[in-house]
Symmetry: D2
Subunit: 356 residues, 4 copies
Amino acid sequence: MNALSTADTLNFRSDNVATVCPEILRALDAANHGPAASYGDDAHSQALNRIYSELFETAVTVFPVSTGTAANALGLAASVRSYGAVFCHEEAHIHTAEGAATEAFTGGAKLLPLPGAQFRLHPDGLRTALARVQRGVRNRAQPDVVSITQASEYGTVYPLDDIAEIGALAHGAGLKVHMDGARFANALATLGCSAAAMTWQRGVDILSFGATKNGAMNTEAIVVFDETLVEPLSYRLRRAGQTWSKMRFAAVQLTAYVEGGLYLRMARHANALAARLARELAALPGIELVAPVEANLIFLSMPPAVITMLAAEGVLFARRDQNVIRLVTRFDGREEEIDRLLAIARRAVARTAGQT
Amino acid sequence: MNALSTADTLNFRSDNVATVCPEILRALDAANHGPAASYGDDAHSQALNRIYSELFETAVTVFPVSTGTAANALGLAASVRSYGAVFCHEEAHIHTAEGAATEAFTGGAKLLPLPGAQFRLHPDGLRTALARVQRGVRNRAQPDVVSITQASEYGTVYPLDDIAEIGALAHGAGLKVHMDGARFANALATLGCSAAAMTWQRGVDILSFGATKNGAMNTEAIVVFDETLVEPLSYRLRRAGQTWSKMRFAAVQLTAYVEGGLYLRMARHANALAARLARELAALPGIELVAPVEANLIFLSMPPAVITMLAAEGVLFARRDQNVIRLVTRFDGREEEIDRLLAIARRAVARTAGQT
Amino acid sequence: MNALSTADTLNFRSDNVATVCPEILRALDAANHGPAASYGDDAHSQALNRIYSELFETAVTVFPVSTGTAANALGLAASVRSYGAVFCHEEAHIHTAEGAATEAFTGGAKLLPLPGAQFRLHPDGLRTALARVQRGVRNRAQPDVVSITQASEYGTVYPLDDIAEIGALAHGAGLKVHMDGARFANALATLGCSAAAMTWQRGVDILSFGATKNGAMNTEAIVVFDETLVEPLSYRLRRAGQTWSKMRFAAVQLTAYVEGGLYLRMARHANALAARLARELAALPGIELVAPVEANLIFLSMPPAVITMLAAEGVLFARRDQNVIRLVTRFDGREEEIDRLLAIARRAVARTAGQT
Amino acid sequence: MNALSTADTLNFRSDNVATVCPEILRALDAANHGPAASYGDDAHSQALNRIYSELFETAVTVFPVSTGTAANALGLAASVRSYGAVFCHEEAHIHTAEGAATEAFTGGAKLLPLPGAQFRLHPDGLRTALARVQRGVRNRAQPDVVSITQASEYGTVYPLDDIAEIGALAHGAGLKVHMDGARFANALATLGCSAAAMTWQRGVDILSFGATKNGAMNTEAIVVFDETLVEPLSYRLRRAGQTWSKMRFAAVQLTAYVEGGLYLRMARHANALAARLARELAALPGIELVAPVEANLIFLSMPPAVITMLAAEGVLFARRDQNVIRLVTRFDGREEEIDRLLAIARRAVARTAGQT
């Protein structure tokens, strides 16, 4: 068996290396009795809209999909004209790490990347960009949507006021607002507000509601607040091969995931592990946080020699740079793993210090 | 709770109303320990190619995907030029019931439907069609692939000789051969040959290997025999949102599905239920088979009054016509359900006979 | 120099082998003075909408494009959802001879071919097809448009009542009506009605207004009656590379083409040549018309030996079959060419008769 | 008549406001005799490859197209996988001013913009970018082509050594080289080398050969050096509606355009006008060149008050900024127009100086 999958590996590479939470496995088991109508006509699937409408305190339509890339690209495809464009942060996952899925599913719409500190669009940056849009000019891609990632790819979280301002700017210019919520729960746990307060009450029209990273089994959801997007999206999903025939097994996951606030409890745990890990690592000489830790992602600068030693000890992480690594904590992470990682890091720092 | 999903409904509408087989649920549970590398780099996923290469007695590459539509449309997209075309039966699922997914994923390739008795392409029909191809004529879509469905949408099964002849014709004309195997196991159980004999040994280059209808949880596979298709397909799948991050949960399903011949046992059961049901229904006055029953699909003609009574008794099925219905049996179907359906049908026939 | 282009060849292969009419060349010359705003902002282009609105007796928007394929595929792309579909005749040029341009520009919409005598959709055929549409079924391509070709690919002309009935059926079902008018002028000359009467007054929403075959220099127009299509079409044209920078040279062609009814005079001439040629050929023993000659296309059956002799004498035509050829007459055709062709045909028939 | 098109307007807005050169109009007239085979099978079209192969001193295939956007986007579409990517300058026309045509025609390939002084890619910049490419990573768009614009959108010209270095870097990394030559002749006139030396001898695989801006009538060409691109391109052009039926009228333009070096004489004239205009304007107080003038584009900074006065006097130009305008000279520009513009500018500068 491959070293990457042994249970005692210190795997901080991503939250998608996680297991599935037991509540979801139990829900799958419980749903596995007798025939059920396919493609979402079963009772479990029919209940989803109601359950999520309660969660979001407004009428929503929920479409389970198999991946975050599908959620983002198809949600955007339903929101943008094929000759349209999407404003996003220049480090947005949709722009840098989804294989141009949005360009493909939209039929060639353009992503218009904007800068912004800590991987967040700043309302002022969006305002400037909107002011420069050449509306009606036929050889310019026409912006139809602004996409933000909450929590961001840098582990930072948009303050509610920023979302509201972005929402108001977008709507004022005739654009829709898309939220990539691959780590929605982690951001929501940090802000401590309601799901409504972080989305439609601040102007979000359509949401990629992440669940896989935080405990589900390869199941995400698109949550649609703007009902005009529902019909086009439903057709696009089916032809994209994103409408499961045995839909009940997606529906019960998404139901179990939010029932009794499970998703928030799991996210809080991951966030707390990250907070502790970041705090203790940053206290070591030569190690510094390069981004605020507001969710379950940690970006740290440290001497290359320390990075090398961590890797040599079998710690798995993503290297971003000569000096920078990313560590990700998980809903199923254990304090004991943090302890072990800290011990390794302390030894590495000590040894490196000895070397210089 | 919706009537469609109660466990004692006589549901013969499709095999996608089925449950998940217990072996697969157990495999999911067993795989759910500790972190595992994502996107197919885990040990379970890495083993898939080996396991399926053994099953198919040749080196294959396996890509798990979430639906049959994704398997077909993306497999075809990797096999056809965007200005190319796909020969298929005029009743092929890819042509009639996938929302033009193939046209979308290929960038506008054309499906060229051909007639053929019992929903099967006949080698002679393909020969004629190939002879009429206007190779090199720039305003004609250029055929690149022949797609056949095994078992067909009519529940019929291609004889091995027909597959071989279609394969030879296609390859002789520079086309690849795609097999839509949504009900691959049912066809294989009928023919009683090896998986190799029904595919690459007869010329199949790429296969949509169905698993969901026959016991898996929303997991299908693309099995690639022609290795030149592997790289383009891998990129297309990722950008289509069809590459799961927690891939192990797809891999273990596909492993459990074939382990010890499970998939064939399940298919044989469904086929046997269909054979019995078809035989006993066709023995009733006024009811006739309109297609040979070679897998788990049954097409029957019967008086509209009988159809109405079946529906009134809560039997679920697909109506194809004034006089024609389709019944589908499942891996998890029970003899007792067949008994109940037969009893209802006998009463309906008796009552209708009394009416005339 | 290639035999195909010598001026005295008897070229009946297509009307696109024609010259450009002198009035259009003069207009190009006249427009060639001083700088002019680009992309349609010049005075000539600005006048087009007015001139064609007068011609069509209603407010229209005109977009010059470079080919009929562009006119059809982009006009349809602006009229159909990417997951939509287009009803057309099974022999429609858009379906058989445009390299799947419509599938490509629409992002994968489906053409739904219907049968119909003499290459025309019959209103009853459309009625039946519309009745079978599975509205709202997510895995079925959703019809958005009906496309008819006037004159048809068989040289037949839709009666006004048929257009009106097709228009009413389409609109009643929420579909738009597209007319491929590659030979618009020939049909209009035959019917003798107004351009308005053959289009929007009978329900046509968008028209590919052919000009190249009938005297223009590689310039066609999309005439839009349904103003909701104007904006999306304008963007699609620009990104398709179909918006000329020196637009005046397209605009003055389209202006000269219709000025004083020039286009109708040219079409009447071509039609008259076809009528005479058809009449005299069909009078010969063994030669029969296989379609009524209602425009400038003639489909004839004749003994293969006669066909061979025509070809041997250097006559250029399109062979459709063992026994069937197509002859096309042109706006710049001369009676003397008809005389020569008839003489050759008479000799061929006489010789063949002698052979048997 | 609109002020924009009067012959005595001082129109420096773009070179696409120009007329058609008389040699081309005469060639159109001369070609207008008798029928000719369509879609490029006529003698004039058949001669094109030979004529351009002589011009480029190697075997090339030439495809006439209607616009520069079509030339670029379709040439790139034939060169890139749908999941591929194109390196280009961040100010490249294909990225900023073609309505995402490349994204559309490629099926969603990504443009990867790079910085570079004076709107030119620098070989070092490309080297760095190539080093960062994540080959084989499935969620990263895979670069297949580098596109450079010669002359650039800033009127600068790539030195031959830079083209060669870019070509070598690209080929070394498995990428093709595309040249957007909307102002090919202007660059060639500046460098004074052969067409071969500026293209395939330095690594260019496919070229958008501009002709419209420099005297042709809405006719550009794609010149293909890499013969593997010929077949896919030919199909893509036809389905894009970019293959004219009366092809002879494009072919004779492209023949006349280069015959006896006409295109270079016209470009030299435009360049000389630009050089004089730039020199004399930059000599005025407060006016400065912001880019070197190496072709027929001039970018100048000047006080906003001067810009306002130029506009008030009816001079047409493109404003880029508060302080920056672009002036473009044309093959059909006259010294007298330069005189008048200079006189207006001198008055404006004098008056503005008086104001401060």
